[in-house]
């Protein structure tokens, strides 16, 4: 047997240890990782020596290590890269606290970046997700998320409000929905239409499916939506368009089934970011060509686009955004929530895609995921549209919505344009997270 003594007389080297398979089988994803029980108290004790001073010493350890690693990758400091990847691997866990989770998911991206295997990793993540997605789990997930957090419902309420106001007096309505909401937005709208004081208008809903994964799920939704509309007594037509085979901006009026005499609304929630950066202008031009009464745009507030050629900057922004998101998830869900785990896993695709995939290469699967901030989208939309402020009624509806959730949520004033109205911003703990806006030609 080698003596311990000898360990020091030789070169120390780092290797990428994997968590032993023993550890993994002992853990069910749905119980607390043993570390979490001790982790929480310690991090509260030690990161708060005097009581909550801000400063570099009190930054979370995970973001420090992750940023250091990202920087080392950009400097190509291989020794440091190895060491930091090893440390992150040791300390991270998808079942731990926020720090451990962020370390886990971002470690994956760093590893891919260091080994230039991002594209392949992304493709395998997509195919795994494809196989495991099903309507029931997706629906349960979204509904649960909406129950505990206004992250998505904020956009729904704002958009529905704007759309209803724009459709006032019309009776042939056509909504072109390019979103990732799986139609959870529309039941409330249908209800509102049904209870309008004048005659109930007819609604044609054309849903453009861009996300590859949603395709199988959407078929189920068709039936449910039609049934619901019948219940509400709203004359209803539902069309599903597959927009993923071709570029979104290449769709035509005919394909979208746009007809004369219709009042058109384009609803775009979380969809613009999935369009390749170069194509975004064209997509907006398409919207304009449909001559809609209103265009509603809702996007998550983060900028992964302007820094897309600067790895470290992009990494910092990614980390900032997902830290907020994970913390929000942690506070919104119960500690043993399956749904939270699934939502976190969903992030890994986006993180890997944004940070490690080469945009130049043709990645036919999956989505772009490069978010832009509200003011950036404004610049783009201004070329064809002008902003419509949300009416007081809609703002009140949103505020009432926020009251239904735990504290921490608020409406923030858009910081860039304090004079001009530039949409509504949902804030969590005073950080802007989701931006909603309405536009007319």
């Amino acid at each position: 047997m080698t003596s311990v003594d000898s360990l020091y007389n030789n070169t120390l080297f780092i290797f990428f240890t994997q968590k032993s398979s023993m550890e993994r089988t002992h853990l069910s994803p749905y119980t607390n990782h043993p570390q979490t029980t001790t982790k929480q108290p310690i991090s509260h004790t030690y990161s708060d020596p005097g009581g909550g001073e801000a400063g570099p010493d009190n930054d979370k350890w995970a973001s420090k290590l992750l940023l250091e690693c990202a920087q080392s990758i950009s400097y190509k400091d291989y020794g440091k890269i190895n060491h930091l990847l090893w440390m992150l691997n040791e300390l991270s866990s998808p079942y731990g606290d926020c720090d451990q989770k962020l370390a886990y998911y971002f470690l994956q991206a760093l590893f891919c970046k260091a080994t230039e295997s991002g594209n392949r990793c992304y493709k395998s993540l997509i195919s795994v997700a494809d196989k495991s997605h099903c309507f029931d789990s997706a629906r349960k997930l979204i509904l649960k998320f909406q129950e505990v957090s206004p992250w998505t419902t904020f956009g729904h309420v704002a958009s529905n409000g704007a759309i209803l106001e724009a459709f006032d007096g019309e009776n042939k309505l056509h909504i072109i929905d390019i979103s990732n909401t799986l139609c959870t937005q529309w039941p409330t709208l249908l209800e509102a239409l049904a209870t309008r004081s004048d005659d109930t208008p007819s609604l044609k809903l054309t849903v453009v499916v861009t996300s590859t994964m949603a395709r199988s799920i959407m078929k189920e939704i068709t039936q449910r939506m039609e049934k619901f509309a019948r219940l509400m007594g709203v004359p209803f037509e539902f069309n599903l368009i597959n927009g993923s085979n071709k570029r979104l901006w290449q769709l035509t009026k005919e394909e979208l089934n746009v007809q004369e005499g219709e009042a058109i609304a384009v609803n775009c929630i979380g969809a613009l970011r999935r369009v390749e950066v170069e194509d975004r202008g064209d997509v907006i031009r398409l919207f304009s060509s449909l001559n809609p009464r209103i265009v509603t745009v809702v996007e998550e507030e983060a900028d992964f686009t302007s820094s897309r050629f600067d790895f470290v900057k992009c990494f910092e922004e990614c980390l900032r955004y997902y830290t907020l998101y994970f913390e929000m998830l942690e506070e919104s869900f119960t500690p043993t929530s399956n749904e939270r785990l699934m939502l976190e896993r969903e992030c890994s695709r986006g993180i890997v895609r944004v940070l490690t995939c080469d945009d130049e290469q043709n990645i036919d699967s999956g989505d772009c995921e490069r978010r832009e901030k509200g003011n950036q989208w404004c610049e783009r939309l201004k070329e064809h549209f002008s902003l419509v402020g949300f009416s007081d009624d809609v703002v009140d509806d949103v505020k009432a919505l926020l009251k239904r959730y735990r504290t921490g949520w608020s409406l923030a004033h858009d910081r860039t344009n304090s004079n001009e109205d530039s949409g509504m911003m949902l804030a969590w703990k005073d950080e802007p997270v989701v931006w909603a806006s309405a536009w007319k030609p």
């Binding site: 311990v4 360990l7 290797f15 994997q18 968590k19 043993p34 001790t38």
Partner: protein, 478 residues
């Protein structure tokens, strides 16, 4: 950080093929193990039996997923020409991993780079991996070091300042445990006897013509050292009557819990022992205040007695005494004009690298101690574990606390005495040196003793020096 990565060669991560890199081991202690034969290149394939699975473990976390369809193909065989070591669960690999984690934790706590929450996270992870009662030497050692760092973290993060406020170990071991551990320590290793016998031999040689001997003991504990000295004094060869022996033991307020017996109890034991062998003997206490300032005037002196100053600082003493206390004692002792001053202390290396460097050196030190015990008694795991818990654990905590507060600057008391005016070295006699060798002969042959100076014997395990005994005098003529 630099010291670890000196030997990592550039890894061309942008392509999958890399050239073999030459191993650049520093040590030439080849007879220990062949870790150095491993080329220090990152093995992205992971060192396991199922490389595919392990990578998927990282990239995908669907536990039910059949991994083989869509895994990452990073394992191009041309990647690395490294002979993969044994399975990752072998002791060496785990040991190395623990060392790295410890080092990372130490780094996180190093004074110019404090990241307490990172250190805490690493230590929590370590605690998951190790136990002080089970596993290999490295694992148990890592457990004690982890605990030591955690207690250090606790005091630092709460802003407790150093000085005399050492975090005393309240390891209230059951007295029978302590006794048992002490006995085991003596039986399994020469650490206790080396210090006692070397000091005693020098004392005997120094007092050979003295009628009265007065020993002032800094930390008497159970007085075991004096039992053997008394026996030696009684059985002097030339039939002359033994000298009148007085022992004055320093006692400290509230320290009774640390040792098995109080100073008074020790005194009673020694007195009755002396009576049983017909040695004229009397015992005194010198009470120190809480500052532990030694006042030579408080020692009762008798005309014509030869004064011996005895300062044992190593095992089996549980904790490190504050340096101010020791220096106050030694400096004060000089005023008493002692014929002999015996000092036994842990041998420390001078190490670069700030806290991390000294931390690693401390780790190296104790791992040598653990190895030495294991080499002699490989089957007696539980016994060794007990000794480690009772004695090593608290000393590790104390060592690290000192290192962290940068006290002593790695200097030994021997060096202090050399620099301090009034102390002259006394040669270690040939007989003393032989005795030490004989003692070691009773144990495993990995132990070595050498004269590192004319007045100093150093006990070591293999290449690591662990314990030193040095002899001094304050008399002008000897």
């Amino acid at each position: 950080m630099a010291m670890v990565f000196n030997h990592l060669l550039d890894l061309d991560l942008s392509h999958y093929s890399t050239t073999t890199t030459e191993s650049t081991t520093t040590g030439d202690d080849d007879h220990y193990c062949n870790l150095g034969d491993w080329s220090p290149v990152v093995d992205w394939d992971a060192l396991s039996v199922h490389p595919q699975e392990n990578f998927n473990g990282l990239l995908e976390f669907e536990p039910n997923e059949d991994d083989n369809d869509h895994h990452m193909n990073l394992d191009s065989p041309t990647t690395l020409m490294v002979e993969p070591p044994v399975s990752p669960f072998s002791d060496d690999v785990k040991g190395l991993r623990l060392v790295h984690l410890l080092m990372a934790a130490a780094e996180a706590m190093a004074t110019d780079n404090k990241s307490y929450d990172l250190a805490a996270v690493i230590l929590v992870r370590l605690k998951d991996l190790v136990s002080p009662n089970e596993g290999t030497n490295m694992e148990r050692l890592a457990a004690h070091f982890t605990d030591a760092l955690l207690s250090l973290l606790e005091t630092s993060a709460r802003g407790v300042v150093g000085g005399l406020h050492y975090k005393q170990n309240h390891h209230l071991h059951h007295p029978t445990d302590v006794l048992a551990a002490f006995q085991l320590l003596q039986d399994m290793s020469p650490y206790v006897k080396f210090g006692h016998f070397t000091a005693n031999q020098a004392i005997i040689e120094a007092v050979v013509h003295e009628r009265r001997v007065h020993i002032i003991d800094y930390d008497i504990m159970e007085g075991i050292q004096w039992a053997s000295l008394m026996q030696a004094l009684i059985s002097q060869k030339d039939g002359a009557p033994p000298p009148y022996l007085r022992i004055t033991a320093l006692s400290r307020p509230g320290s009774g819990r640390k040792s098995i017996s109080t100073v008074q109890e020790t005194g009673r034991l020694l007195t009755s022992f002396a009576a049983s062998i017909n040695l004229p003997f009397s015992f005194h206490q010198c009470k120190l205040d809480s500052n532990e300032t030694f006042k030579p005037s408080s020692v009762k002196l008798v005309r014509g007695e030869a004064i011996i100053i005895n300062c044992m600082l190593h095992l089996p003493h549980f904790t490190h005494r504050p340096p101010t206390s020791i220096s106050s004692f030694l400096a004060g002792a000089r005023a008493l004009n002692p014929k002999l001053v015996t000092v036994v202390e842990e041998e420390e290396q001078k190490v670069e690298g700030g806290f991390v460097g000294r931390f690693m050196d401390t780790l190296h030190h104790y791992s040598a101690v653990y190895d030495s015990l294991e080499a002699g008694f490989p089957m007696q795991g539980r016994a060794r574990t007990l000794v480690e818990r009772v004695f090593m654990g608290p000393r590790i905590v104390g060592s690290l606390a000192r290192v962290y507060r940068e006290e002593g600057e790695g200097g030994s008391w021997g060096a202090w005495l050399t620099a301090e005016p009034g102390f002259q070295p006394v040669n270690i006699s040939f007989a003393n040196h032989c005795q030490a060798k004989l003692l070691l002969g009773l144990f495993n042959d990995g132990y070595r003793v050498e004269e590192s100076a004319s007045n100093k014997l150093v006990l070591g395990w293999k290449s690591r020096q662990l314990l030193s005994a040095s002899i001094w005098t304050c008399l002008e003529t000897n």
